[in-house]
Symmetry: C2
Amino acid sequence: MGTEQHPRASSGYWYPEHEHPTSVDVLNLLRRYRAAEAAMRARTRSSMAMGETDLLALRLLLQAQRRGEVLRQRDLGTALGIASPSVTALVDRLVRSGHVRREPHPDDRRATIVVPTTDTDHEVRATLGAMHRRMIDVVDGLDDDERRAVASFFDRMIAAVEHLDVHEAPAKATITAD
Amino acid sequence: MGTEQHPRASSGYWYPEHEHPTSVDVLNLLRRYRAAEAAMRARTRSSMAMGETDLLALRLLLQAQRRGEVLRQRDLGTALGIASPSVTALVDRLVRSGHVRREPHPDDRRATIVVPTTDTDHEVRATLGAMHRRMIDVVDGLDDDERRAVASFFDRMIAAVEHLDVHEAPAKATITAD
DNA sequence: TTACTTAGTTCGTCGATCGAAATATAGCAC
DNA sequence: GTGCTATATTTCGATCGACGAACTAAGTAA
């Protein structure tokens, strides 16, 4: 696809004052990315006429299918952080809309597994495929150093957010807490 | 390996196979970051006993306050993408919980502005302050090249996600009652 | 003035979640 | 085997947060 690989691609304003982005620029971009992603999810979910959780569930099911695994309702509930009655209702909705089927678990007769229909796979690919393609293009366009920088950035941001043990560094940083 | 990275790589597994992260590694880290952030928001929201939208509204109000601006209910509704009756209910909840006050708009007597209480500012800082400091430390710890790489990565990812045109109309959840 | 628009509220409803209790199966101890 | 406990799911009843429609009050334009 003709996705531009130039460093200055895309959307918007660069860093007006300086040649390099500042820390604040980076945090703002992170915020903007988060907002863009949330907006995208809102579009998808309204285009597929379903809620956030339903869409998330569908993604989990398709991923599992791709890995040759099956998910029980219980697994869905755990992964999504919702209680089992909510899973029942969730799967009811997805069955009603034709996105999944319920099937008996091969080994455990108490359990039902949830299987996405082939139509679902097509639909999700049609809806998200182009965007995923563009995202992958972006990542593939990074050179080794950039990829390392981005990976390490995320790794440390995850730690910061999860509040695993943190080596306390001098907290100079001005508060831009939003 | 000349690339002993940074003080601590924090959370977890590095790239098992290779010296450098692959594109897939980067996308996985992005996913993990997103999940970590969502989990954090869930913790905050339960620790402050409020829903996602309420928390988002509070953030907007505090940001506006810091910029010396005031928000009308209408502004909140627009920013949050909810209808005006929902804003009324939202502000009702926040007033009841003591997080905001309603005040008459200085110029437009139809409008009410919503002002966060000082306690709210303290509470949010107490809840999120440490985490924000850790995030800022991470960004401040990047050198120029890394910062540039991360910034450009986000800039292009935003473009990839926002990319307005939606080609294939999805098959509109046809009920394939299986 | 009259007519229209905008800000916010009230009301009734809907959809998605929850906890508690019911049902069926699984697995273990004896 | 019989019993006891744990697990997977469902049903029920309640709550919470959003919505549209209809309303009041205030600004705006003819």
